[in-house]
């Protein structure tokens, strides 16, 4: 590890200050990103050799699972029961719930399968808020411009246009699901500013925005006609004779069985990839964020995009060790917190876009100005005491989750700065979708983090919670209209034979199985509780011994 200033020494030198000037910044953003952003790490990318994105660059670890063998084959489905539904939603976070609620409201039979429990998702952990242009002087056009600019103009303008025009109605819909927001004395929505944007546009509930959202949505789903299958990871999609998506193979962690769910439409809302710990980074993500949806969609022929672009959130907790990667909301910087290096100096405008701020933090650490703990952690100060100094009481009132996190660390953030380091937070890309959330495979919708295109190569705070509800609802409504007359003729996992042929031709290892389902640390493949389910590599190796 590179040199840095020892933690104790930096802490001794630290003084809270109401105002600190930012030294002139002379480095061009593109140069900074290329030099320090993890997306540009040497040898982190490979070229995909099979599938719809053959020839495209992709992160090495993601490529391993996209080009992995399936977990099941025909034999596993012999005797598996077949059930029917109109719309099958896979994923129990905000996007999945929004899609299921909308489809159900329109009269469809809806089944929602989720790997763990309903609501176990990144949504529940979201803190900062949700974007909607509602303030005087702000417009949907400005929201669109900010979104595209922050995404380095790589976003899909049509998708973003739909989303920004829909945003105020998304907030109304959430209120009608019973979600609270922070209001001023007259009942107006309070707003905060996201890094890299031109207006205060993020509405929120403390730094528990996702928790408040998920509580309301989970209760709404539980009290609807939607059938919820919990502890039920999807292990494969089903296709019909025309290679359209026609359902999914759902496994059950309760009785270790498989069931084939036939559906007119499938909505994948499986979230992101944080628990793959790309480039060895810690993550702010949920236990279940293992990129399953990307793998399932890719095998069925869905085109993906921006597989080399990920978001590292600037303020992941770096110390203490056992909490590394935990998220501290951008709302803290929005409230005025500085980032300081080991010399107590500011080094970046804290409200630049996340990729920019993260790269600047990594630069400080690489060039010896970071703060070093015991040789195993490095970071910079998140200067919360100065925020409290300027605005006494603000942390407790607006950022209770931060205060709780401080308690767990044994640090009072009103008095002592927290050590932060970028944490793997979000998958910028994902499945290519149209304005209804439909992927390039008929019958298959992808919504939320599993989809790509909205955020280009970098996302701004508050656009993820907006996207999941906006596109969740759109996909739910659109999927209901998918009618297959007398239904699919033949529903199989036939597409897997193509996959296996391609893998063999490309001489790729067949030992790796996907989707991953659970992070390595959980040792799913070795857990005797799940012996009835076909497992991946480790299990096969063990049997062979």
């Amino acid at each position: 590890m590179t040199n840095g200033i020892p933690y104790e020494e930096a802490l001794r030198q630290y003084r809270p200050g109401k105002k600190r000037a930012l030294p002139p910044q002379d480095v061009a953003v593109d140069d900074l990103l290329r030099a320090f952003h993890p997306d540009y790490l040497e040898d982190s990318l490979v070229t995909l050799q099979v599938g719809p994105n053959k020839g495209d660059p992709c992160h090495r670890q993601l490529a391993d699972v996209l080009q992995a063998d399936a977990r099941i084959d025909e034999a596993d489905l012999a005797g598996a029961p077949v059930v029917e539904t109109d719309v099958l939603v896979i994923g129990g976070g905000g996007a999945g719930c929004a899609a299921a609620l909308e489809a159900s409201r329109m009269g469809a039979r809806v089944t929602l399968a989720t790997k763990l429990r309903l609501g176990d998702s990144n949504t529940v952990m979201a803190e900062g808020g949700i974007q909607a242009s509602i303030e005087k002087g702000d417009t949907p056009q400005m929201h669109l411009d900010d979104t595209l600019k922050a995404g380095h103009n790589q976003g899909d303008r049509k998708l973003v246009a739909k989303m920004v025009m829909d945003a105020p109605d998304v907030i109304r819909w959430l209120v009608q699901q019973g979600m609270q927001f922070d209001l001023d004395e007259f009942g107006n929505l309070l707003t905060r500013r996201a890094g890299g944007t031109s207006a205060d546009r993020v509405v929120y509930y403390r730094d528990y925005t996702g928790l408040e959202m998920m509580r309301a949505l989970r209760e709404a789903v539980r009290n609807s006609k939607i059938e919820v299958l919990d502890y039920s990871p999807a292990v494969e999609l089903l296709s019909n004779e025309s290679c359209h998506c026609a359902g999914a193979v759902i496994s059950s962690l309760k009785d270790c069985s498989y069931v084939m769910v036939r559906a007119n439409a499938v909505i994948l809302a499986t979230g992101g990839i944080g628990r793959m710990h790309l480039n060895g980074f810690p993550t702010s993500n949920h236990f279940g964020a293992t990129g399953d949806g990307l793998v399932l969609a890719y095998r069925l022929g869905a085109k993906l995009r921006d597989l080399d672009s990920f978001q590292y959130h600037p303020s992941g907790l770096a110390h203490p060790h056992h909490l590394a990667g935990s998220l501290i909301t951008e709302g803290v910087r929005s409230a005025g917190a500085y980032l300081l290096n080991g010399h107590g100096e500011r080094f970046v405008d804290e409200l630049k876009t996340r990729d920019h701020v993260s790269a600047a933090i990594l630069r400080e650490c690489a060039e010896g100005r970071g703060i070093k703990v015991n040789g195993d952690a490095m970071g910079v100060w998140l200067d919360t005491p100065s925020v409290e100094l300027r605005n006494p009481g603000i942390l407790a009132a607006q950022l209770p989750k931060l205060v709780q996190l401080g308690k767990k660390c044994g640090i009072d953030p009103t008095k002592q700065p927290l050590l932060v380091y970028p944490t793997l937070h979000y998958q910028n890309g994902g499945a290519v979708i149209d304005e209804s959330g439909l992927s390039t495979v008929p019958g298959l919708y992808c919504v939320g983090e599993v989809s790509g295109g909205i955020h280009g190569r970098n996302r701004i705070m508050g656009n993820a919670l907006l996207e999941i509800i906006s596109f969740g609802r759109k996909a739910g409504g659109h999927a209901v209209k998918q009618v297959h007359g007398r239904g699919h003729k033949k529903v199989t996992i036939g597409h897997l034979s193509n996959l296996r042929r391609e893998l063999a031709v490309a001489d790729l290892p067949m030992g790796v199985k996907g989707p991953m389902l659970f992070p390595e640390c959980a040792k799913f493949e070795l857990d005797s509780d799940y012996d009835g389910l076909r497992r991946g590599k480790e299990h096969d190796d063990r049997e062979a011994e």
Binding site: K158, Q176, R215, G375, D376
Partner: protein, 208 residues
């Protein structure tokens, strides 16, 4: 790495004797010792409510309920993971409540057990977030939903109070009901409504 120099402690988790660094949570300690754990794991940040555990600390007679990702291991600690209970039998749709004048009456139809609270404080003692759950239930029975809901800001719906309640009140769902009706009937932000109205009139366009 510093982990090696950290103090090691001996704990029993789900009957397995484990030695692990003292800075680890119960879940991390289980993984550290090489045991698998899939269920009862979620956000690992204390906001999803999945990892319900029973905890007995050395020398203590009391068994506490906590969240496994938030409980740091201590010498002699015993930890048992709890399965998640069946969902509550209470069911309601916000749209079935016709106006805010009806909320209190509807509440007692939906949660008839709430007014039978015997003030045993089981819910309060079970709450890993330190919420005054019992007071929240009492306020809700009196129709003071906004005030009741405010108590449940930190609630992660771990259902420990639901498990603890001998009257089957489902206190966390009472809290959530209180929060939801407050938003559903009373959150009417004029800045939002004004913007929705302008959008409806077609005042805004974006260049696609």
């Amino acid at each position: 790495m510093s982990e090696k120099s950290e103090k090691l402690v001996n704990v029993t988790i789900d009957g397995k004797e484990i030695t692990a660094p003292a800075s680890l949570s119960a879940i991390q300690a289980l993984w550290h010792a090489g045991y698998p754990r899939i269920k009862s794991v979620g956000c690992l940040e204390g906001v999803c409510g999945s990892c319900r555990v029973l905890v007995r600390r050395e020398g203590a007679s009391e068994v506490k309920t906590e969240l496994g990702c938030q409980t740091l291991i201590e010498e002699g600690m015993q930890v048992m993971f709890l399965v998640f209970p069946r969902p509550t039998h209470h069911t309601y749709q916000l749209t079935d409540i016709k106006s805010s004048w009806e909320v209190q009456a509807k509440f007692h139809e939906i949660f008839p057990e709430a007014s039978r609270c015997r003030h045993c404080s089981g819910c309060v003692r079970s709450c890993p977030k330190g919420i005054d759950v019992e007071l929240g239930v009492e306020l809700a029975t009196k129709g003071r939903f906004r005030q009741a809901g405010e108590l449940f800001v930190e609630c992660v719906m771990c259902d420990l109070c639901l498990t603890a309640c001998p009257e089957l009140i489902a206190p966390n769902h009472v809290g959530l009901f209180s929060r939801r009706v407050t938003a559903y009937f009373h959150t009417r932000p004029s800045n939002l409504i004004n913007r929705l109205e302008k959008l409806r009139r077609g005042d805004f366009h974006v260049a696609e």
